[in-house]
Symmetry: C2
Subunit: 271 residues, 2 copies
């Protein structure tokens, strides 16, 4: 396939590296320095978004705030190209696709992966291997477009799962946004405690707060563009935390044990 990639940051750069052995890949980034770094790394790079077309598929891998503008710029001239986007919240793309009467075919392709560093310099195709790629239809998807999304995702090393936009956004609120919100809240709450973290923090604190390092530019839309589901997820968490706190405050060892065992079992499914 002839594949364009718009946005050569952590995800787009990793996809470019992953796909170029089996496909004809061209990349584009708004940043001139990023384009130069990608060229220096041996990738084929064009100097405008539109020059990614014609193609069989164009992957929009920009930050969330630039996804809709990029799709809007590409759609009128997409022709037979399938437009894939990696947006981690589907609601806004879903709404955009409904407004596209008879236009380009849009399919979401969201790899469930991440790092706490950003940008092309951090791109690494290994971070895609074996990860779930959530392939999400829109109002403009057809079966061949869905198949193309699956093919691209598998070629990048992903494990393809198809789900609706509604299901996607409910799931990522729980497995991505809620951990992010908790990590951020924990980092703030502990720093307010005036503790010398460099001295006292062990690996447990480090792991639990790692997502707090997510760049605010990336973290904000994960929470705001999916705010309804995120608020529901926080409410769900608060119910469990209240229960756990009651067990601690009342020194109810049996109830606490029950909760800790449920938590350990729930987490153990991931090994």
């Amino acid at each position: 396939m002839k594949i364009g990639i718009a946005g050569l940051g952590l995800i787009g750069g990793s996809l470019a590296y992953a796909l170029r052995s089996a496909h004809e890949v061209r990349g584009y980034d708004v940043g001139r320095e990023t384009r130069e770094a990608a060229r220096a790394a041996g990738l084929s790079v064009v100097d405008t978004l539109e020059a990614l077309l014609p193609a069989d598929a164009v992957i929009v891998a920009t930050p969330m705030s630039a996804v809709l503008p990029a799709l809007a710029a590409l759609a009128p001239r997409a022709g037979s190209a399938v437009l894939l986007d990696v947006a981690s919240v589907r609601g806004p793309v879903d709404t955009f696709a409904r407004s596209q009467a008879g236009g380009a075919r849009l399919v979401g392709m969201h790899p469930m992966t991440g790092r706490s560093t950003q940008g092309f310099a951090s791109a690494d195709p290994a971070m895609l291997i074996g990860r779930a790629f959530l392939v999400v239809p829109t109002a403009t998807s057809d079966a061949p477009a869905m198949a193309s999304a699956g093919e691209v995702a598998r070629a990048a090393g992903g494990v393809v799962t198809v789900c609706s936009a509604v299901e996607h956004d409910r799931i990522v609120a729980l497995v991505s946004a809620l951990p992010l919100a908790l990590a951020a809240a924990l980092a703030i709450a502990v720093s307010d405690g005036a503790i010398d973290l460099a001295t006292f923090a062990g690996p447990g604190y480090r792991d639990t707060t790692r997502l707090a390092l997510t760049a605010p530019d990336l973290a904000e839309p994960i929470l705001l563009a999916n705010s309804g589901n995120v608020v529901a997820a926080i409410a769900r968490l608060r119910t469990v935390l209240d229960d756990l706190e009651r067990a601690v405050a009342s020194r109810d060892a049996a109830r606490l044990r029950e909760l800790l065992e449920r938590a350990a079992q729930a987490r153990a499914v991931l090994g």
Copy 2:
């Protein structure tokens, strides 16, 4: 020094491996299989707790629930031996030490490290290197006993910090117990969401919930033996989480951004 180690689990076993090159180390564990495994690994092992004496120092590295019984058994015959214990909550040992009129010298030596696996098979001296060892005086500590604790901690690869029992328990409530409580609450809240985690969970969810894998036997006393500080820590967290939730629910991007930036800065001190 002649050093006894009571309890050859993850921490005790790691200490035994770390200390044996520079010191004369003998270990003991209530579990016969653990004693045999430790002997097979080349450690010097005795068959009763009391046989760890005479010594210059005995480290009690049992689970929390066995620390006070072990100290009570060792104290009357400790002689000049300093009794160190790795208990991760100091309140109960502090109270015990006050009851020891003119008896053995007790000093806390708590390494800020951990893994989600337990037991001698997981012991590894690398997990102690460069970690903070919190050296905590009790009512029975004197200056030479404190110096011995520091010497043992440094010999094991630790970075020694001295703090009071009160300060210790406030700090660990924030950097150990609160992350543990949140990881457990998150694992339960998400599993209640009926999501196929093996498919959907990425590295962010994995890291944020890793502490939920802590064995309930170890997790329970971290929360219950320090319940006052833990409840205060949860209250502190809830205030921040409420603030963050309000920003998400009202789509207040400026306020959310402010919180995310504070969180990223707070976490960045650890790199």
